[in-house]
């Protein structure tokens, strides 16, 4: 397109009347000149005018061609279409409201979902140049990522591969004044690398982390400063107890920065303080514990694939001397530009949710498509007349589509409002239903309406306008010109067929959603009722820092409400369990979960010792090489033999032979969704050396927990990490499923509502359309029952097909999900039966009102029509 072209088009668009007038003048001038020429040649006035026109050709079509050159006819017809559509909407506001409301429901839900997705996955973190930031780790043969030791990190930094800057970070959890604080131990260059400044005071500097043990300082997040410390200005210089160690607040990070991890962090401290803030081996000591994550900025111009190659080669070289299990098999290079990186795995996890939400939108669209079809059929006469007057079909289709798009504008606005309300409501519901102790770990992240959200809204709106507008537009303009002008619209059955197809699609989708939701609810119920193998009531578990352990244990022992104290290295149901490899002399090596516990552990949780005996106090104290196996472990190690008295080899640090002294019943140690541990071994320990302490208490457990927490915090500030009742751990582990059930139920309910109204609409239309026929039937003696039956049969026929298809799909889907979750194995008939009955019953109910209306048809009235 040249400049002059653009200019002329703009002119034609803006001064339409003037350009039109000029064209008129130009043609007029030509004809006048030709007329004069013919007059001069001796023709009569009349002949001259006729000849001039003859030479010129068809004036109208020439003008049309000239207008075509301007290339703005699209706009002109669009304007016409819009005016026309608005006039017809004005006459029928109820229709517009119903359409906008229905589409808005579907749009709003999807927009809400996208807003959340955007906040976590698409919106870049507010730091300098987020897209060059990557997290790096190597993976072993099992594909598990590697945490780095300090020495490995220093080596990595020194070798200076594909990154221009690198930093190491480690997660740390503590509680300050009873509030959960999630922090990050970072190398000194962290804030500089990210380009994050401070709101107050200063950020962490390289000097702060110059040597192990320095400096006891921390920087708070803006949010933590506001919510926990009320934004007090004298926060700088205050000492906070982090895991029992006093740390000075030197700054508050700038507003909006909440770290680059998935979950917002509350504070940052130098990684060189790791030893002071952490139990276990010294990060900088000879044991080289592996705890660090590496993040870095890719060098400018360095391609990701190139970096991967370099890093793979480096990882393999570094790990070449290690045993096979520890060798680097591959690497992971993950973008840190957003809270959660956009990976194929994430999309797979997210897809069921997306599909369910999209299906609701599709349902809404089919409802509207069905309404549009009914309207189009009602307008068949008008359309027929326009076609017979020479209107092009595609011109009519364009006009009908313009109507759809116009209808979708109020739908988008309403949908946007619904999305905001939905998000607010679901967050409120989440805060209301989440297990109490999880609350303090939940951070609200900003959910801005940015260009991505707007773009999604526009896209989804247009897509749904096409979805609900296209079929009716094509269908309606297919009319037979002659019959429709005569008003015989009922003879053309195609729209009816299209609407029937829509009803079947709706019932299918609705059945699928309801059954899937039923499966989810059943699974959640099964999990809640699942026998986890031990008692959770009146047990409180806590993590105790090593330096204050003695003090804490003494206080607990003297507490009047504490019955029993037990120790464990892993709190059951905490969502994590450590594993090791063990092997019986002649048997295969198996990977098993393990827990180091004191003798009281079995009593406190009511785990029966099936054979053999419990640890003795003495064995605990000396950590004798004896073990109790879970029934599962005994079975897989010593199938068919008595496990008690057998010896197995444990290839941990140090590797040793261990004698089995007992077999305990199976329990769930890690997470309820995974079911009971296939194999678990217990090794002896005492509360003096164990990281976690479990106590059985008398009285109301939450009150006791609160009292213990307060009392221990006074006694040994920062010594207690997490302290929760086991009931809370159990509820927290179940919450994801409860939440999913709630979302599923909401979606299922909405789908049912949409389907109900959809069926109702189609049947009402069916009755209106066949009034004459029904009238005749009644006149010929049909009873109310036959008429009601006629309508209901119609409804049930469609519903039956839809239910069949839906059940088929649901079977496929549940099989797909079942392969991932213990609790969904096996076919559960209840959700299928419930879903099918619900849909069938709703279809009957939706058909009832139209069928009664049909039964009331007065034959005299109807037959008078003709």
């Amino acid at each position: 397109m040249t400049l002059s072209d653009l200019f002329l088009r703009l002119r034609a668009l803006m001064f339409r009347a003037r350009v039109e007038e000029e064209l008129e003048d130009e043609v007029e001038f030509h004809l006048a000149m030709a007329h004069r020429k013919h007059l001069e040649a001796g023709h009569s006035e009349e002949d001259a005018a006729r000849l001039a026109r003859l030479d010129f050709g068809r004036v109208g079509s020439v003008k049309e061609d000239c207008r075509g050159v301007r290339g703005i006819d699209i706009f002109e017809t669009a304007l016409q279409d819009i005016r026309y559509a608005l006039r017809s909407f004005w006459r029928n506001p109820g229709f517009v409201l119903t359409v906008a409301g229905t589409i808005a429901l579907g749009l709003g839900l999807n927009l809400a979902l996208f807003t959340l997705f955007n906040a976590y996955v698409l919106r870049p973190i507010s730091i300098r140049d987020p897209y060059s930031l990557y997290g790096f780790t190597w993976t072993d043969r099992q594909g598990a990522g590697h945490a780095f030791s300090w020495a490995e990190y220093k080596q990595f930094e020194k070798d200076n591969l594909a990154f221009s800057e690198v930093a190491a970070v480690q997660y740390i959890y503590t509680r300050i004044d009873g509030h959960a604080f999630q922090g990050q131990l970072v190398t000194g260059n962290y804030f500089q690398m990210l380009g994050v400044t401070s709101e107050l005071g200063r950020p962490l500097l390289p000097e702060d982390a110059s040597a192990p043990g320095r400096e006891a300082v921390l920087v708070l997040s803006y949010q933590a400063w506001q919510s926990t410390f009320g934004g007090r200005a004298d926060i700088i210089g205050m000492k906070l107890m982090v895991r029992g160690f006093p740390m000075e607040v030197v700054g508050v990070a700038r507003k909006g920065f909440q770290d680059i991890s998935e979950v917002p962090r509350d504070f940052w401290a130098p990684v060189t303080m790791a030893d002071r803030l952490q139990d276990g081996s010294d990060l900088f000591g000879v044991e080289h514990p592996e705890r660090l994550e590496i993040v870095g900025r890719l060098r400018r111009g360095q391609s990701v694939s190139g970096a991967k190659a370099i890093l793979t080669a480096w990882s393999q070289r570094i790990t070449a001397q290690l045993p096979e299990d520890h060798k680097a098999a591959g690497i992971l290079l993950r973008s840190k530009a957003t809270s959660i990186p956009l990976t194929p795995e994430l999309l797979i996890v997210f897809s069921p949710l997306v599909i369910a939400f999209t299906l609701v939108l599709v349902l809404a669209c089919t409802n509207v498509a069905s309404m549009m079809l009914a309207r189009a059929v009602a307008r068949q006469r008008e359309i027929g007349i326009r076609l017979s007057l020479g209107a092009l079909r595609r011109r009519l289709i364009r006009q009908l589509l313009t109507e759809s798009i116009l209808l979708s504008i109020p739908a988008a606005i309403l949908g946007f409002i619904i999305s905001r309300v939905t998000i607010d409501a679901s967050i409120r519901v989440m805060f209301a239903t989440v297990p109490k102790d999880m609350l303090e770990l939940i951070h609200d992240v900003p959910r801005p309406v940015d260009w991505r959200v707007i773009a999604f809204m526009v896209f989804a709106t247009l897509a749904s306008a096409l979805l609900f507008g296209l079929a009716p537009a094509f269908q309606a303009t297919r009319a037979n010109v002659i019959s429709s002008v005569r008003g015989e619209v009922t003879s053309d059955l195609r729209p009816v067929r299209a609407r029937n197809a829509l009803v079947i699609a709706q019932v299918t989708v609705c059945t699928l959603l309801l059954v899937a939701c039923g499966v989810l609810v059943r699974t959640t119920m099964a999990m809640s009722a699942f026998d986890i193998g031990f008692r959770t009531n009146n047990v409180i578990a806590m993590e105790v820092a090593a330096n204050s352990r003695r003090q804490v244990l003494d206080a607990l022992a003297s507490d009047p409400e504490v019955d029993t104290i037990a120790a464990a290295s892993a709190i059951p149901l905490n969502g994590a369990v450590r594993t090791m490899t063990i092997r019986a002399d002649d048997g295969p090596a198996i990977s098993t979960a393990y827990n180091e516990v004191s003798p009281e552990y079995f009593g406190i949780l009511g785990i029966p010792i099936l054979r053999g005996r419990n640890f003795t106090k003495q064995e605990s104290a000396s950590e004798t090489p004896v073990a109790i196996l879970s029934a599962g472990a005994a079975q897989s190690l010593f199938a068919g033999r008595d496990a008690v008295g057998q010896i197995f080899h444990l290839s941990g640090k140090p590797a040793r032979d261990v004698r089995v002294i007992g077999v305990a019943a199976d329990i769930v140690t890690c997470c309820i969704p995974w079911g009971k541990d296939p194999a678990l071994i217990y090794l002896p320990t005492t509360s003096a050396t164990s990281a976690a302490v479990l106590v059985h208490v008398r009285g109301e457990v939450e009150a006791v927990r609160h009292r213990l927490d307060t009392r221990l915090a006074e006694l040994a500030p920062g010594a207690i990490g997490d302290i929760h009742s086991l009931d809370q751990y159990r509820a927290a582990g179940m919450y994801a499923f409860r939440a999913a059930s709630m979302i599923g139920a909401a979606l299922g309910g909405l789908a049912l509502f949409l389907t109900l109204t959809g069926i109702y609409g189609v049947l009402s239309y069916f009755v209106t359309q066949r009034t004459k026929e029904i009238g005749i039937r009644v006149a010929l003696g049909a009873t109310t029952r036959t008429v009601v039956g006629l309508v209901l049969t119609q409804s049930l026929r469609l519903t039956a097909i839809g239910i069949g298809l839906g059940v088929g799909l649901a079977l496929g889907v549940s099989r797909l999900i079942a392969s991932n979750l213990v609790f969904m194995r096996g076919f559960d008939v209840a959700p299928f039966a419930a879903g099918v009955l619900l849909v069938a019953f709703s279809a009957l109910a939706a058909g009832y009102v139209p069928s009664r209306r049909a039964a009331r048809i007065d034959p005299i009235q109807t037959l008078r029509y003709d």
Binding site: T2, L3, S4, D5, L8, R9, E22, L23, D25, E26, V27, F29, H30, A32, M33, A34, D55, F56, G57, R58, V59, S61, V62, D65, C66, G68, V69, R70, G71, D73, I74
Partner: protein, 112 residues
């Protein structure tokens, strides 16, 4: 967008004729161009004078000719067209192409 018509088939030729006609004059209105083409072609190209106007407008949109309102020799307001610099270049190229094709066709006809 638009369906092809007879006009489009002739378009290339008509464009060339218009450009060539305008080359030898300062500015001409549509009627004059049409008359000129008729005279020069000795009445061969005269039917459907109307089709001249869409062609003129298209050339204008392409920037090869420029239109302005003026007063005709008989004192009536008329739209005058004149060749622009890009139009001159275009004419040169199209004329060359035409000559080459015409020459080639001529040769083929002689051979046959």
């Amino acid at each position: 967008m638009r369906k092809p018509s007879r006009l489009d088939l002739l378009q290339g030729t008509l464009d060339l004729l218009i450009l060539r006609t305008l080359q030898s004059a300062d500015a001409m209105h549509g009627w004059a161009i049409s008359e000129r083409i008729r005279q020069v072609s000795e009445n061969v190209l005269q039917a459907n004078q109307g089709s001249l106007y869409p062609a003129l407008h298209r050339l204008e949109h392409q920037g090869w000719i420029k239109a302005e309102w003026g007063i005709s020799e008989l004192g009536r307001r008329a739209r005058f067209y004149r060749l622009t610099a890009p139009g001159r270049k275009q004419l040169q190229q199209e004329a060359d192409d035409w000559t080459r094709v015409a020459g080639a066709i001529g040769k083929v006809l002689e051979l046959a």
